[in-house]
């Protein structure tokens, strides 16, 4: 057994204290033959500190495309030649999407907009949309609307949005290679305000943007410092027309090493499979991740791409004897 896993067994599994950046890097650098042991330990940590439940979430794009920012992985930036066009979802369709999500057994519904931050029109649409969902569907509403002002944070709390997603996307040292229209620190500031408001903080990122393994460890350590309620883990799905459109996808084993490492960095967080798992991990890898530290999934489609059918994920959870977290457990 490599020394880092012995250390993690005592420190993370035993005491619930996450690995530091050096420890995370050691896990990310484990040779293939020790990957099963790392995943098993990460799974044990998840079971001990989070339990067997899996949190299921659906997401929908309220405003797609035409974003003024230049996140190099994103097909919704208006600055690249991506074929994604700008489109708004109307409120009846938003409510229908929430109903479809609730029908899968999901307890979370996240409303996402491709913007730098919300303007008055978007906040109005949110206020009406969240009220309409709450009147018609039994589900918790989360939002992801970019960078916020303090007033907007307060408005979202007032609407009953219980969790806010704002991804740091990658570590601080690599961020300027991925985004030039705003800074990592600006994102951090929004996250700080969200946390201070009492809303749950959801913050993760994308692996495979060209960051080094050291920077992947840096990222996990920075997330652990933020201590978010939830960390969505995406793997780059290279989008045509974006600056990262020709990057290779993350190797399955590297993705699994990252899952184990992120769990060992953050024993208590909700670690969610988000986008890109279908192409990076396939069905077998998806299962390995759920047995290696993941305890939440996005089911159904994503914002501009499609996922596997929700039933496929729910059947897998059933087979793995992992109960879907119920709404009563989250209220």
């Amino acid at each position: 057994m490599p020394e880092i896993l012995d250390q993690a067994r005592t420190q993370v599994l035993g005491d619930g204290v996450g690995l530091d950046q050096a420890g995370i890097l050691a896990v990310l650098n484990l040779p293939d033959e020790h990957l099963p042991a790392a995943l098993q330990l990460a799974h044990d940590v998840r079971m001990r500190w989070c339990g067997p439940e899996v949190e299921v979430e659906g997401i929908v794009s309220l405003k797609t495309g035409g974003c003024p920012e230049d996140c190099h992985f994103c097909s919704q930036s208006g600055l690249f030649t991506s074929p994604v066009r700008s489109v708004w979802l109307d409120i009846p369709s938003l409510v229908e999407a929430a109903k479809q999500t609730a029908a899968t057994g999901a307890t979370e519904f996240c409303i996402v907009a491709a913007v730098r931050g919300p303007d008055d029109r978007l906040m109005k649409q949110m206020r009406e949309g969240v009220a309409a969902i709450k009147a018609a569907v039994d589900i918790q509403v989360a939002a992801s609307l970019g960078m916020l002002s303090k007033e907007q944070v307060d408005d979202l709390v007032d609407m009953g949005v219980h969790r806010y997603n704002h991804n740091l996307e990658t570590c601080k040292s690599y961020f300027p290679n991925v985004v030039t229209t705003h800074s990592w620190e600006e994102r951090w500031e929004t996250l700080r305000m969200v946390r201070d408001s009492g809303m749950e903080v959801c913050c993760g990122g994308i692996l495979g943007l060209g960051e080094t393994v050291e920077q992947r460890a840096e990222f996990a350590a920075q997330l652990a410092e933020l201590n978010p309620h939830e960390v969505p883990l995406n793997f780059l799905n290279p989008r045509p027309g974006t600056p990262l459109g020709d990057r290779p996808v993350v190797e399955g084993k590297d993705a699994l090493r990252a899952i184990a490492a992120f769990r060992l960095a953050m024993p208590r967080t909700i670690l969610r499979y988000a986008g890109g798992r279908e192409i990076t991990l396939g069905d077998l890898g998806t299962r390995a991740g759920l047995l290696g530290g993941i305890n939440a999934v996005i089911v159904g489609n994503y914002l501009t791409t499609l996922g596997r059918p929700a039933t496929a994920d729910l059947e897998l959870l059933d087979e793995l004897k992992m109960p879907v977290k119920a709404l009563s457990a989250t209220l």
Partner: protein, 66 residues
């Protein structure tokens, strides 16, 4: 008598000619992506992805759903 052909003229993923060459990579990618270009006129469509399904609208040829 002439009949309207329903053959797709344009690849609905990359917008290039669908009759000149085959698009195996696009066809494979389309399993996890909605269409982006109208296969009849090559216009970029307005696409809304939903948790279940998607809709794509061409200003000239109307809506398709999947």
């Amino acid at each position: 008598m002439t009949t309207m052909t329903t053959t797709e003229l344009w690849c609905d993923r990359c917008g290039e000619s669908a009759t000149a060459t085959a698009h195996p990579a696009c066809a494979s990618a389309r399993q996890l992506e909605p269409p982006r270009f109208c296969p009849r006129c090559r216009r970029r469509m307005k696409v809304q992805v939903l948790p279940v399904g998607w809709s794509a609208v061409c200003v000239e040829h109307g809506e398709i759903r999947g």
